[in-house]
């Protein structure tokens, strides 16, 4: 590789952070999706995504939207919305997330309160560097039914079963999509122009349902 190394993802971990401090930080940053905060019972991870991280994230989010359109499934993109539960002392801001099966329940809402509203149906997690807080138990505790985790080479579909994630070959949120097809499509996104790639995504999906 001859390219200049782009700035890496930056992460810091704080311990003994109170819920009040976490909330104060969220309030100071309510209108920005970066950096992203993850809170787990006093531990706070603050992460500034790298351009590589965000590019992959945006591409996967676009893929989800293209797929839902092709499959004629309603979906709402909630981006890096903050989800938190004070009673569980946990909170997260996903790389991307979508309401699909529960889309109707959150349609038109400007705020999500997990005390009343369902968690997102699908969370995208880009793990190209090792995270300091394992987010899966947080997603599990908050009831996220499906997570797509991308490690830079492979996209894993994780399905919530009895409060734990198990790897699955096929998506529940977007049926008939498999982890191998998703991994291939994400790989293709690295070399293709966005519009050309999106066309390829659509064609692939049409092939699956046809």
């Amino acid at each position: 590789m001859e390219t200049i190394k782009s700035p890496a993802e930056q992460k810091v971990l704080l311990s003994n952070v109170s819920w009040g401090t976490y909330e104060r930080l969220l309030k100071d940053h309510q209108n920005s999706s970066a950096p992203r905060f993850t809170f787990d019972r006093g531990m706070l991870e603050i992460m500034s995504p790298s351009p590589e991280h965000e590019k992959l994230n945006r591409r996967i989010a676009q893929l989800v939207l293209a797929v839902t359109e092709e499959m004629d499934i309603e979906a709402e993109d909630f981006g890096s919305t903050t989800f938190r539960r004070e009673d569980l002392e946990r909170g997260f801001e996903p790389d991307s997330c979508f309401y699909i099966q529960n889309e109707e329940q959150v349609r038109g809402k400007d705020r999500i309160d997990l005390a009343f509203d369902p968690p997102p149906d699908l969370v995208i997690e880009i793990d190209i560097t090792s995270p300091s807080i394992n987010k899966l138990p947080i997603y599990a505790r908050l009831g996220v039914p499906e997570v797509w985790r991308y490690d830079g080479g492979k996209l894993e579909i994780l399905k919530l079963e009895n409060d734990e994630y198990v790897e699955s070959t096929e998506s529940v949120a977007l049926p008939s999509l498999t982890s191998s097809v998703l991994s291939q499509l994400v790989e293709r996104s690295k070399s293709l122009r966005r519009t050309v790639w999106l066309r390829e995504v659509r064609e692939k999906v049409r092939g699956l349902s046809g």
Binding site: L13, L14, V17, D28
Partner: protein, 210 residues
């Protein structure tokens, strides 16, 4: 080398952080000085040092002690103490810092309050990756008379002159040590055993003062 090179520091910068949030983050961390916080009028940098970063700070701290002993200068180290001033909305935690001229008045104190106490006479700053906040203007406003800054290769000395820093070759706090001598010694710390390195430091000071 088949090890993965980890970045020397992890830095995240947050904007729009209130003084109250900064204070609550400081108080949650208790005695732990990691990660380190720098606050500059709403901007908060959170930095997690790597072992390389901490090792350089440690060796420079030892070097200061040896130079002080050889030259008969009274120094009192206060490590990464938090220095903050609400009135100017700034605060920092140096990698290492020392009182020399004011050592007598600070020795044995359990807290330092910049409202009444003098600032440290010498601050050590290790910036192996680019810092997101320029700390020199902050040190200048708080009145730190000398800064040694190491960028991973070179070490520069700065002394405060009319509220601005100018680069100097010889230390004012610890004459006659020079920036070049300290740079060389820091480089040697990476390959020498501790005892032989300390001997090198002593010899360098003796050579310099003769």
């Amino acid at each position: 080398m088949d090890t993965v090179k980890s970045p020397a520091e992890q830095r995240v910068v947050l904007s729009n952080v209130s003084w109250e949030t900064y204070e609550s983050l400081l108080s949650g961390r208790e005695e732990n000085r990691v990660p380190r916080f720098t606050y500059d009028q709403g901007m908060l940098e959170v930095m997690s040092p790597s072992s390389e970063h901490e090792s350089v700070s440690y060796y420079i701290g030892l070097l200061v002690a040896v130079v002080a002993e050889e030259t008969g200068v009274d120094v009192y180290g206060v490590g990464s103490t938090t220095f903050k001033r609400t009135d100017i909305q700034r605060g920092f935690e140096p990698d290492a810092c020392f009182y020399a001229r004011n050592a007598e008045s600070i020795r044995g104190r359990s807290r330092i309050d910049l409202g009444v106490d003098p600032p440290p006479d010498l601050v050590i700053e290790v910036d192996i990756t680019n810092p997101s906040l320029d700390k020199l203007p902050m040190y200048a406003q708080i009145g730190v008379s000398e800064v040694w800054r190491y960028n991973g290769e070179d070490l520069d000395f700065f002394t405060l002159d009319n509220e601005e820093y100018s680069e100097v070759e010889s230390s004012v706090t610890l004459p006659p040590i020079t920036a070049r001598a300290v740079s060389d010694l820091v480089e040697k710390s990476k390959s020498f055993g501790l005892t032989s390195w300390l001997q090198e430091v002593r010899e360098a000071v003796r050579r310099g003062s003769s």
